[in-house]
């Protein structure tokens, strides 16, 4: 029997309101996703993950690692060789059109219709998302304002800058407020202020309940925007979790940058430690005088996990 809110005692109401939020539903479930192209290339090799409703998940990885292949399978553009994808309980492999109804998608490379005006572009695509005429017009206006394109409303899309066109592609995904946004490198090619504007758009979509899966090459973007991060390398999901979980996984929570005591003119040296205390012990043991300790970043984790050469010029204050 379900009690109504009026029938509950104050204590019960208080307990219920302070109790932890109920577990979120799974928005996307991917199981053992494998994609082998006709030429034999294994682009995805058994990727499995679950994305919760309202979560932002960033997928990072080197070029050619299989990120876009993964997202294209998720958005039903590419048929998996084996494995399953479920979007809000809909089997996206068996019912791609139905699954797409729940998605707003920004492909990595897509063309816009240059001769349409900005408003026409949004309105017609909103209609194609099955919004009524009135709602399509409203949605177009809303998205244009949100993307900061109001001044360009009646301009041809062909007259816009590259960054503005990219924003149009993101806006098309937002039309109709789909519960799942899949954005393949949404900010590639944008200047820093446009990138931040897009981050704002994504955050606002999440605030009203959207789930977001995005791929990016910008570690800062993944770190700032996402709740969890997936690292794909060589077609495999080699790590998936919050930043703290990833840091714990590689045992590299702190980064010590220091100048060699014997050869002070040499390049900065970098070492990672699982704890702050361990880093301090190392400083004491090596009698370092020029050093800085920082919390390790996603970039540190990324290079460790993907095994890429860590070639980074270190500059800045030395403690």
């Amino acid at each position: 029997m379900t009690a109504t809110i009026e029938s509950l005692s104050h204590v019960e109401v208080e307990r219920r309101t302070t109790a932890p939020a109920p577990p979120r539903e799974i928005a996307v479930r991917v199981r053992d996703l494998v994609k082998v192209y006709r030429d034999g290339t294994e682009a995805n090799r058994g990727i499995s993950l679950e994305v919760l409703q309202g979560e932002v998940v960033a997928i990072v990885g080197p070029n050619g690692a299989g990120k876009t292949t993964f997202l294209r399978q998720l958005t039903t553009e590419l048929r998996p060789t084996t494995g399953s994808v479920s979007v809000f309980g809909v089997d996206a492999v068996a019912e791609p059109e139905r699954a797409r109804r729940a998605m707003g998608i920004t492909p990595q490379e897509a063309g816009v219709f240059e001769r349409l005006t900005v408003h026409e572009h949004f309105e017609l695509f909103a209609r194609l998302k099955h919004l009524s005429k009135r709602k399509a017009r409203e949605a177009a206006r809303e998205v244009i304002a949100e993307l900061g394109l109001t001044a360009q409303t009646n301009k041809s899309v062909g007259a816009l800058s590259g960054g503005q066109r990219r924003r149009i592609l993101i806006g098309l995904a937002l039309l109709g407020r789909p519960p799942l946004l899949v954005l393949d490198e949404p900010t590639t090619g944008l200047d820093p202020s446009s990138r931040r504007a897009v981050w704002g758009v994504i955050r606002r979509a999440v605030a009203v309940g959207a789930t977001v899966i995005l791929s990016t090459h910008y570690m800062e973007e993944a770190e700032r925007l996402s709740d969890r991060i997936g690292v794909i390398a060589d077609g495999r999901l080699i790590a998936f979790g919050t930043l703290d979980e990833l840091l714990a996984q590689v045992d590299r929570s702190y980064r010590l940058s220091y100048r060699d005591r014997i050869d002070p003119l040499s390049d900065l040296k970098i070492r990672y430690f699982a704890s702050f205390a361990q880093a301090q012990q190392h400083i004491a043991r090596e009698l370092l005088s020029e050093y800085s300790i920082a919390r390790a970043s996603l970039e540190d984790v990324y290079f460790t996990l993907t095994g890429e050469a860590f070639e980074k010029e270190e500059t800045g204050a030395i403690g």
Binding site: R79, E97, R100, E109, F113, R115, L116, L128, L172
Partner: protein, 246 residues
């Protein structure tokens, strides 16, 4: 209803795309076929060409214009959408690939209506005696468009690159006209080509349009063949035009 809205929206998107090119479009739709009419008339001897031949030249010019619209330009449009990534944009929507194709077909029909009307007006102005049976003419034209568009869709869906597809549609658009008895009588063709021409939709289209322009019935067989060819090419086109890659 949703499907109808989808088709209209795709049509509107394509239409808006040509809005600033109306002048060049009308010029191209008119100049090529009209030039072919004048060329054929000149070769046949303008003064001595019998009215029947002039009617054939006009029907041929209309079929030529349909071939240009349905294969060359429509193919170009589909190829452009595919290779500039616009098709990807459609593929992100809950839109059936067939709705996309029908939207583009509708656009081709609208283009064909403009060019055919223009040619009919010009033909009359040049003294060609026509007594069009409009219902039959419209059916013949629509079936021709569907049939040729199907070919355009097949090429656009299978081409490996924009330039390859573009070459193929241009070759097909012109080849179907000049290898079929469109501007001349079948008897004037070498026998091998004549046999081959019996496989081409333009052979039936030219005969159907010419007869419909002369006001006569008796094009049932041609319309039937065109219908079967349209079903076959469109079925193949729909099969190949899909959002999802394997």
């Amino acid at each position: 209803m949703t499907r109808f809205t989808d088709i209209i929206c795709v049509f509107r998107i394509q239409l808006a795309g040509t809005r600033r090119e109306v002048g060049p479009f009308l010029l191209a739709a008119f100049v090529f076929p009209a030039a072919m009419y004048l060329f054929a008339s000149a070769v046949a001897g303008a003064e001595v060409a019998p009215p029947q031949s002039r009617l054939r030249f006009l029907a041929g010019s209309i079929v030529f214009s349909l071939s240009l619209t349905s294969i060359s330009w429509l193919g170009y449009l589909l190829l452009e959408n595919r290779f500039t990534g616009r098709l990807k944009l459609f593929a992100t929507l809950p839109l059936a690939p067939s709705s996309y194709v029908f939207g583009v077909l509708l656009f081709a029909v609208a283009q064909a209506a403009v060019s055919t009307t223009t040619l009919l007006v010009v033909g009359r102005a040049l003294g060609v005696k026509v007594r069009p049976n409009f219902p039959l003419l419209i059916v013949a034209i629509v079936l021709t468009i569907l049939c040729l568009c199907g070919l355009g869709v097949v090429v656009a869906a299978r081409a490996r690159s924009f330039s390859q597809g573009s070459l193929l549609t241009d070759t097909l658009g012109a080849g179907l006209i000049f290898l079929a008895p469109v501007f001349y009588a079948p008897e004037m063709m070498p026998s091998a080509v004549r046999a081959f021409a019996q496989l081409l939709p333009t052979t039936f289209a030219a005969r159907a349009v010419q007869t419909a322009l002369a006001g006569g019935p008796g094009i049932g067989n041609d319309l039937l063949v065109l219908s079967l060819m349209a079903v076959a090419t469109l079925a193949l086109g729909f099969r190949l035009m899909k959002w999802r890659e394997d």
